[in-house]
Symmetry: C2
Subunit: 361 residues, 2 copies
Amino acid sequence: MQAENNLYQQRISDIQRKLSDFKINGLVLLNIINIKYLSGFTGSDGALIICPDRLCLLVDGRYTTQAALEVPNIPAIEYKNKIEGIGQAIKDLGLKHIGFEAACMSVDMYNQLIKLLDDEVFINVSEDLRYLRAFKNQTEIALMKKAAIISSAAISALISDIKTGCTERELALQLEIYARRGGADQLAFEAIVAAGENSALPHAKPTDRKIKKGDFIVIDFGVKYKGYCSDETCTFAFGELTDQQKNAYQTVKQAHDDAIAAIRADIAASDIDNCARSVFGEKYGHYFTHGTGHGVGLEVHEAPRLAPDSKDVLEEKMVVTVEPGIYIPGLWGVRIEDTILVKENSCEIFTKMDKDLIIIN
Amino acid sequence: MQAENNLYQQRISDIQRKLSDFKINGLVLLNIINIKYLSGFTGSDGALIICPDRLCLLVDGRYTTQAALEVPNIPAIEYKNKIEGIGQAIKDLGLKHIGFEAACMSVDMYNQLIKLLDDEVFINVSEDLRYLRAFKNQTEIALMKKAAIISSAAISALISDIKTGCTERELALQLEIYARRGGADQLAFEAIVAAGENSALPHAKPTDRKIKKGDFIVIDFGVKYKGYCSDETCTFAFGELTDQQKNAYQTVKQAHDDAIAAIRADIAASDIDNCARSVFGEKYGHYFTHGTGHGVGLEVHEAPRLAPDSKDVLEEKMVVTVEPGIYIPGLWGVRIEDTILVKENSCEIFTKMDKDLIIIN
């Protein structure tokens, strides 16, 4: 607990030192995951105000006791109405140039807030905070490795449960049971178990469709372990595949492998995306309908972004996914995904399932 | 499918007829649950534009195939960048007075969007849409009853698993297994299973704390069934309670019963809150730290809101929760919650667990 508190104090000190660079004398944070990262507070709602010499956590009545337990070093103020609570705190703290995350404040909240204030000025610092959580320390890396081990073990255990006639929904539940009995706090997102024509939907939800021979089964799965997410996708063959399916699988595998082989510090995220995308060529390019990957951490999707239009550059200690896919509408889809730590001249794969084609009979 | 499509068309027609009242010639919807309600699209991101005589669903590449399957009657446009996609659609449709949900658009998105446009004007219609989903039809009521039956059955089944030494986390997992094997699509929210001192935290997360004699065990649980949520809280006694605990339980039960007894059409939501709150009096009032309830539907929290400062009035066909509680920091907490349909002169409780004190030995 003391080590954790020191970590949070360090993170907040780092922000406090930057306030003058941002030309603000206080920062109103609304992104609840940023608040968790900086303070340890795990509630679902609240606001954290960071001034050069003062801090204040604003919570509603559901979280007053929890805030005192989780964040003993930051005074908590209970609000009845969030916007009024923030407005009052801004006045009490005498903030004039207020940093805020414009990507996390609604237009409605902003309009109501400025009505409560006088000549205070809001300054968007969303971009300045873009990499707040992007660089993982040793503790975070250890937790993310553990999360990856738990989810890979669950996927591995599930293989023997995949039989003709069982449904996507049953498999998704069994997968979650393995993961939670294996130590996961909860899932990082609702598991995707998509078979046959459903695997052509990148974000399918498990249905009552039964598994049958010739199916691709896409399993996109992640867990949270002590707050940190894993993210992995396996595509299994159930029975024999057509040559076209086999070719698609090998193409996705090649795109996945090429992209991972290119990962190291100081490479543009868009270059990694291009490594994967160029493998698809004219034959499959049209069927790869999303970006190649994304950062992972306290959230399953966070900075950086691996996509054609990304301006991010990969740096040491970032953790990202690589997840190329091919989706043939109405027929089938393939996706292969690992979670990867960026190192100076290479990378390290956290997820544990081998990505060579597994045929389940 | 045809009946569903007719329902969506009806809902959209209702909105289209109101566009001129809102003084807009097009509505850009961003709230993904409102989009689901109006179109049937179940993706996690997108935008729906409603004009008097045209409709357009904007999605990213992950959802192109899914949108065509789920929403056959509305043309879908795939965007690479959401804001640019919306800006282009606004221009192509010739919208000048654009309704939007200011509570669902970030300041950042708004600022980027207006840079792409010329003299178009945005008009906030969040309040006009406040009750969009509040009145449930017969189909919705049937689904919500089924969701309530599934979650009550899961809680009931869990009772025999509650033993000395088992953890909150194990019980939460077992509860989810019962619910999903009982037909739930997924949980409506992460289950709260909070024992002893953890039950004093209204929004506790399950931990490795072991159940022991003298504990209150608060179980706040809901499932989704075909998209619709249930929400129910039981507080069980594990072994004998102190007189103070018994008194607190009976007080919460009284507050719960009194509030429910008062529910009917045309009563102010704040009056229902007051029915519960007045039972707590000086002795417990300070320990009831949240509102009395909230609407439920496609989201577990939606309009109306049952709280002291609520301006909502309950109307027939609304579905709401009543969930008073007492939380003594560091010691224990009690909460009792049902989900209830508002009727003309009365109400109907959907949730099935009896709320008299159950002592588990």
